[in-house]
């Protein structure tokens, strides 16, 4: 399972205003942050966490295997290359508006380094009552109200909808094993197919709720994988942005939300997922159907 609670976490860009608030929330929720990096700010502390000038320097003192990247978009490629060189195994990129070329380059490097990337443009991931990476859920009191432990995983292309879905499940007695905002960009690290493959082997997960959007082929790729290999998991999916199907070439919301030459339409994604055995709902409120009730 992603996010082993024993694993040491570092935060790149830790001295930024948003990152600093995030660190306080993560620590309060139990995430094991050991250190941070901001070039030129080595020697400082953020909420008692030591800051280093580089990942290499940090690794002389700690064994971080997870990094949360919250640096300005132009600095993301260099920051992640440093993290891969330092040997991290999980890299969560929160930064928004990362150039597509940089995202692609860093993913090539991550594959070579054997590092799993979540994002860019994700609010993070959370294992309820264990730990969280990123700003997902916001303040800890809000996190505790929205997320509860259980056996349904939430995978979402929207950070906001990750919490909305978890909150909806929680209020109906359905807990979550993990919730992941995969990122709203056209080119992202782990996507639905990779993550469902991982969850397949996770004994704590019995079901998956997917939130998809127009654009890209993440939903179609998952459908293809499910047709080939099948799955033991109950998978429910809700896809938003049906109206975008009729507005070819118009970009809404996330950078990935665009239908081009008929590719990436919601109707096509729904059809592909249904053919692969996924329970696709038209109304958000129907997402609960068949999910395992009760908390762990």
């Amino acid at each position: 399972m992603l996010l082993d609670p024993q694993a040491e976490i570092m935060v790149q860009g830790i001295t930024g205003r948003e990152a600093s608030a995030m660190v306080a929330d993560m620590l309060e929720y139990g995430s094991r942050i050991v250190a941070g990096v901001t070039p030129g700010k080595g020697g400082q502390q953020v909420h008692g966490i030591p800051v280093y000038n580089s990942v290499a320097e940090l690794m002389e003192h700690h064994q971080a295997s997870i990094t949360v990247v919250s640096v300005p978009a132009p600095a993301v490629l260099d920051a992640t290359m440093e993290a891969f060189a330092g040997g991290v195994q999980l890299c969560l990129i929160m930064s928004e508006r990362v150039p597509r070329l940089d995202a692609c380059k860093l993913l090539v490097a991550a594959r070579q380094a054997g590092c799993l990337v979540i994002g860019p443009n994700t609010l993070g991931l959370i294992r309820p009552q264990v730990a969280k990476l990123g700003t997902i859920g916001g303040r800890v009191d809000n996190v505790r109200r929205s997320y509860s432990p259980g056996s349904t995983a939430v995978l979402s292309r929207s950070g906001g909808m990750t919490t909305e879905i978890a909150s909806f499940l929680t209020s109906h007695g359905i807990g979550q094993s993990i919730a992941i905002g995969v990122g709203g960009d056209p080119i992202i690290g782990a996507n639905f197919s990779e993550l469902v493959s991982m969850l397949e082997k996770d004994s704590a997960t019995e079901a998956v709720v997917l939130y998809g959007e127009p654009g890209g082929t993440a939903e179609e790729d998952l459908a293809e994988m499910l047709l080939q290999r099948g799955s033991r998991l109950r998978i429910n999916a809700f896809l938003s942005g049906r109206f975008v199907d009729d507005m070819e070439g118009v970009r809404f919301g996330h950078a990935a939300v665009i239908v081009e030459q008929g590719r990436g339409s919601i109707a096509g994604k729904q059809r592909a997922l249904r053919e692969a055995g996924v329970f696709v709902v038209e109304r958000f409120d129907d997402l609960l159907e068949g999910l395992p009730a009760g908390f762990d």
């Binding site: 597509r100 809000n142 906001g160 909808m161 209020s171 958000f284």
Partner: protein
């Protein structure tokens, strides 16, 4: 039509399509070559040959040659086309393009190749490092809707750029009477679908999130209400992660007041659960606006916004 370009007519024996784009499934750039069809490449019976390449090293002459060979080219044409494809791939990377095309590249009877039209789109998120190239082009107009932005959409862009905190813009105008102040990105899509399904007529699509300042929210609210024919406003967001619900609430109330209307008469419902929701609820209750909590689903909120009626917490 604003401009007309007049060119010399060329007689050709074959139209080729050369392109480089992103293969988002494989997360790599992909080179494309079609040897028939040209501008109608999508309808062509002949398949387009596709090959991904490493963005660090670019498209090699060798791989480009394989693509041209697989597409059925030979001899001098193969060499010339593969060299052109390599250069197009270099331009794609150097320009931070999301798509680069030469379409059609025509082959004259004597074997000479001429690029008749070309198309290159730059990644919005890389514009910051493409400034000198963009300046060399002269006037640049950014459109994301496939049509020139309306005055209302332009004003929303200006409001969003007022400061760097949060998003309160990204407006697309529609012909309806129900103004929507909605967010974040995914919830906006969800709500717009749901409003249409319940028979509503949205006056706009929009997106707020990332904790915008009350000033931005107020200005956007006032703008949405300025559209002729707009009678009602719904304020609906997903359970917010980082956005402060009370800042949204105070911005909305102030925007409605600036438009010269009463919040209680215009705002059909306010649903922004999450951080500072209690404070937000107090602001809205003080203004006489119906407030929904997280227990009222996005879908139910859309129904209420369209049809009115009592709040049924499911």
């Amino acid at each position: 039509m604003t401009e007309l370009s007049v060119e010399v007519k060329v007689e050709f024996q074959r139209e080729l399509y050369l392109g480089v784009a992103w293969d988002t499934a494989n997360k790599l750039p992909v080179a494309l070559l079609g040897i028939s069809g040209g501008v109608d490449v999508e309808q062509s019976a002949q398949p387009v040959v596709r090959r991904t390449f490493d963005p660090w090293t670019g498209l090699s002459e060798e791989v480009a040659g394989e693509i041209a060979d697989e597409a059925g080219l030979g001899g001098e044409t193969l060499a010339a086309v593969s060299t052109t494809l390599v250069q197009l791939a270099q331009a794609f990377i150097a320009c931070d393009a999301v798509i680069a095309e030469i379409n059609p590249l025509v082959e004259l009877a004597g074997g000479q190749l001429i690029g008749v039209d070309a198309h290159l789109e730059i990644d919005d998120d890389a514009v910051y490092r493409q400034q000198s190239r963009l300046r060399s082009l002269g006037k640049v107009v950014s459109t994301s809707t496939g049509r020139p932005p309306t005055p209302l959409e332009l004003e929303a862009q200006r409001i969003d750029a007022m400061d760097h905190r949060g998003v309160a813009g990204r407006v697309v105008e529609f012909d309806g009477d129900l103004a929507l102040l909605i967010g974040g990105g995914g919830a906006s899509l969800t709500l717009f679908d749901a409003v249409l399904r319940h028979g509503g007529k949205p006056a706009n699509y929009c997106e707020i999130g990332g904790n915008p300042t009350p000033e931005k929210v107020a200005a956007l609210t006032e703008l949405l209400l300025s559209k002729p024919g707009v009678t009602r406003l719904a304020v609906i967001m997903n359970v917010v992660n980082n956005t402060r619900a009370d800042l949204i609430a105070s911005g909305v109330v102030s925007g409605v007041q600036k438009s010269g209307r009463l919040p209680a008469e215009v705002i059909v419902l306010f649903r922004v659960p999450g951080s500072w929701e209690q404070e937000a609820a107090e602001i809205m209750a003080g203004a006489g606006v119906p407030v929904c909590g997280r227990e009222v689903s996005l879908d139910e909120c859309a129904r209420l916004a369209v049809q009115g009626g009592s709040i049924d917490a499911s």
